[in-house]
Amino acid sequence: MEKKSRIRLTINGKELELEAEPNRSLLEVLRDDLGLTGTKQGCDREECGTCTVLLEGVSALSCNLAVGMVVGRKVETIEGLGQGGGLHPLQKAFVEKGAVQCGFCTPGIILETEALLRRDPAPTSEKITERLFPHLCRCTGYAKILEAIEYGARLRRGEPAVVTASHQGYVGRPRSALDAEDKVTGRAKFAADLYMPDMAYAKILRSPHAHAIIRNIDTSEAERIPGVRGFVTGRNLRAVRLGVKPLLRPGRGTFQPVIAIDRVRYKGEPVAAVAADTREIAEQALAAVKVDYEVLESVIGVEAALKPDAPRIFPEGNVEQTQTITRGDIAKGFAEADVVVENWYYTPFQEHGYIEPEAGLAYVDTDGRLFLQACTQFPYQCQQSLAQLLGLKAEEVRVVATPVGGGFGGKYVEHAWILAALLAYEVRSPVKVVYTREESILSSTKRHAALMRFKTGASRNGRLVALEAELFMDVGAYFDPLVTRYTAVAAQGPYEIPNVLVKAAQVATNVQKSGAFRGLGGIQIAFAQEQQLELIAQQLQMDPWEIRYLNALRPGSVTATGHHLEEGVGISATLKAVRPYYEQALQVARAENGSRETASTWKRGVGLACGWRAYGGQSTDPTEATVELLPDGTLEVRSGLVELGVGSTTALAQMAADLMGVRLEDVHLIGGDTARAPFPYTTSGEKAVMMIGGAVCRALEELRAALTSVSAQALGCRPEEITFKGGNALQAGRKLPLDRLAALCREVGVPLKYQGAARWSGYRPLDPDTGQGVFCDLYAMRTQVAEVDVNTTTGEVKVLRVVDASDTGTVVNPILLEGQIHGSIVQGLGYALTEEFVPGQTATLREYGLPTVLEMPEMVVLFVGDKVPSTPFGAKGAGETAIVPTPAAIANAIAHATRARLRRLPAKPDRVLAALRES
């Protein structure tokens, strides 16, 4: 039995005495016992910094500090900052400078900074960086955090705040994220911060084998442990819900059971889930489950899976050719080519690395409805899956997305909360699940590893004439062909190539499923294709910039899928935008390498890369949203949008506020709730502004039309004379406030609620054999320049600067978009240099290697491109694809510095050294 002690300590100035086992972590006690959930749990092993608190004024990691060790000492948490008098200067600075995205790492970073500033109110930027580096942030790329810290330090010293002039209108203006204040104060409730009376904890038993048949699962002994409330296994699920396909992710491939039924196909696959009174009892229960496995031979890695004698994961084989694209005559193309370059490239699995581990809380409400709150990007699909699994009607399941502590494509329909919900339905009490970091790394989806053969031909003048590409995408243990379409479409790069043959296949291996991740399919392609271009340019002695500009897609170009491009083709504009930076960087590099002694071990290099990718959500299904003018004259907008921390909800509110002429704070957004906003939508693929924004704009047009006619009547004028501003309908100096207008509308029976829809109108599904069709109406496009230093004796690579120019059209919110681009670039940098998930080996964040602030380069963000006629306000999404060209630009820069060509990511020091020796 637990040995409890009376523990006295001071928290945020209050002396407390509590009963707790002295070995529990301070973090757990703060969160579970004291309700101070502003302190977050990210890894539980001193690796992420998110649980930072102040102990006697200095920063300490509460995850690994036994509460017994802090007896009698003073602890401060985020809840203790800025008490009474509004926001603390640092909190204010973080909000204003756009330093908060998902907000999960924010409280820890603010406390760390506060500890520093108490000792040193005006620290140097080196000092700040040194203090910040143990704190992992996956969203911001650290740049805006550093800016906020410097600004916050000034505010804290009593220097005046910078007041920006107020402007008319919101679109195009930098605005703080609407939810930032809740996040800097620790008030925002993430899924793991939810508690309920009588709540049980769910834990999942996972397969220790990569491939095995389950002969038997025996939970009988475990069920007898006091405090165990119930189990879900593939057996009772199937027996109880006969006829229901226990699917987790739909696709034309193989359905993955939500829990293994008779076979496990990867190490970490869920085999049983338990709900128990405490986490400890749940763990004990799992330890008492007996699973009888018959271990099978497994196959890990694309190369292994492609071998003819490889063990089969599915009877039909491990490889399925799923998308071919042909255009022109490939044989003729290569015959005409003066230069042909052919190479293999490999990119590994990438872990999303969001700092918030998967979490959810589910219960059956008094109406018998199953209610799940979870950090999902896709509550609507969770609702559908649960309804199907339990044989319920969709409206009998309600799913609400909590703030997502970083998603990046990794938080769709995850085992974590689906199993918690199934358990809650089974045991009829609230069930909470929170993954440990190790579980999250072991079982969450990853970016598809890819093995790619590229054969590229060009004529003497540098024109690309032929491309043949073979793409093998490692989808993990269950087939899902979606990625093969994205990669196949992206394969040509943002260039005109008349003769193309692309073959994309999905390859099953015994690892966790691959899934969506920023820049899906595009990043792997850019790594290969952009190096191919570089090699061709080298052979032709052409300038790397020239060859790209010469071949860049333009309005009127036709892609390999036969898509005639008309609008939003800004790749040349982005190339032009980076050109001065590129040339200047080349000059600097020449000067640096010249002035350094020949014996210097550091070499400077500059690399260029373009990137493109189709936006997400291919289908002609409409994205819907409603708007309603409320009686008080404010506006309510309901949509499927979930806030992932990238600021899409803020951008949406800015658009709505401008269209309706109301203040930003008078726009109420409701989203990501299957009951209150029943508009299925997956928040992904940087399409929020275009799709949700489009639907909202359509709905607002209708609302405006109705309000215009009612107010024209009331004011006795023509409808054309009416405008909306400042919360009023205006006509020649006369005004009618919107609340009165709403009342008028009700009197005359004019509805105040309207629905709008947006769709990819040009979408035509690709023919699987020829690839002809229109994958997406628009493509995101951009160019980057990377400057690196490479150490020729250790193989270390430092990325000094990345310049990014994106084809954005109108930028709705520059500060938030810039922050998202920074984050994407640093994720790309991580993929280029340090990040690699090695199945069966990588277990912790430390082993995985997320970039820290020390790896952050200087970043220059340029917005270019013309307004897009067909999108709301002429805007294009541009945040997530900033990841696409980064690894390619870095690889090209390494080659420029040293002649070492990296064909395999990440460019870890030992690989760089090996490549150097080969070159």
Binding site: K3, S5, N23, D44, R45, S59, T834, L854, P909
Partner: protein, 296 residues
């Protein structure tokens, strides 16, 4: 699952407790690392003794002509910031400033770092260079052992069941000493060192002839170690590039690194050579810059 917490107020009280609990009581100084070790089942604890309340163990003391003593509660942060350490043992200050995260430096102690006996303990290589000794105390009395005899393997030391590491003593070193600690990690300081190298050069009179050279390696063998054959090549020699090269080669031969997710064995061996080539001239330059005889 739970454990009993002992909070002695004096060393004498702590030693009595340790005598009665023996192996059963785990000793915590800073208390970082501990829950992770429990979770990873690298450690089991029924009874935990926190040294935190023992003020007499929290000190850094310098005695002219003798040396510097670190109390068991001296944190990495305190050692890295200590003027005397920075001046006389810059390699130790550099190593302590590179231990884990700043939060860990704030709480974690040098003594705890040694007692954990991780092959990657940052403080170990500099202390090996200094021929530091450790004072181990028990109710039976005290004994002093050389740091060279302290580590027995990963997570294994010579500490007896009733013993506590009380102090670390760094003896004054005659002559002019220059030293450096270099660490190569994939992600700078967050990373447990892929390779850590300390080099100390001693000059006696002449600026040219090295009276002593010491090389210590971390993360490349089951325990931190001195590369004594490599040292031998430079001792009493005038340093030339060929000798540095040879010493680097020989030092690498003394290591036995493993391959893991962070780096391959071959890469680690390569890096021992690279870091030796960097550290030896740096230590030499620093020794030459030290104009005061017998400073450290």
């Amino acid at each position: 699952m739970g454990f009993e917490l002992l909070q002695p107020r004096s060393l004498a009280e702590a030693l009595e407790m340790k005598k009665s609990y023996g192996e059963e009581a785990k000793v915590l100084a800073g208390g970082t690392d501990f829950l992770v070790l429990l979770k990873d089942q690298k450690l089991k604890a029924e009874v935990v003794m926190s040294l935190r309340g023992i003020r007499e163990l929290n000190f850094i003391r310098h005695e002219e002509g003798k040396g510097v003593t670190l109390g068991a509660l001296a944190t990495h942060g305190a050692v890295a910031a200590s003027a005397i350490i920075r001046q006389r043992f810059p390699d130790l200050a550099e190593a302590c400033a590179q231990v884990g995260a700043v939060q860990v430096q704030n709480l974690g102690t040098v003594g705890g770092n040694l007692c954990n006996a991780s092959p990657a303990a940052d403080a170990a290589p500099p202390l090996l260079l200094m021929d530091a000794s450790l004072i181990l105390a028990s109710a039976r009395g005290e004994r002093r052992i050389s740091i060279h005899d302290f580590f027995q393997g990963p997570r294994r030391t010579v500490l007896q069941a009733d013993e506590i590491l009380k102090e670390i003593f760094i003896p004054q070193i005659p002559g002019r000493r220059g030293a450096t600690y270099l660490k190569l990690g994939r992600r700078k300081a967050m990373e447990i060192a892929i390779v850590g190298i300390g080099v100390a050069i001693h000059l006696n009179g002449s600026d040219q002839v090295v009276s002593d050279c010491r090389i210590a390696l971390g993360s490349v063998a089951p325990t931190p170690l001195r590369a004594r054959h490599g040292e031998e090549i430079l001792r009493n020699q005038e340093i030339r590039d060929e000798l540095i090269e040879e010493a680097a080669e020989v030092a690498a031969e003394e290591a036995s690194p493993i391959s893991d997710v962070r780096a391959s064995r071959e890469y680690r061996l390569d890096m021992i050579r690279v870091l030796c080539r960097r550290a030896i001239p740096a230590a030499l330059a620093s020794a030459r810059g030290n104009k005061v005889e017998g400073l450290s």
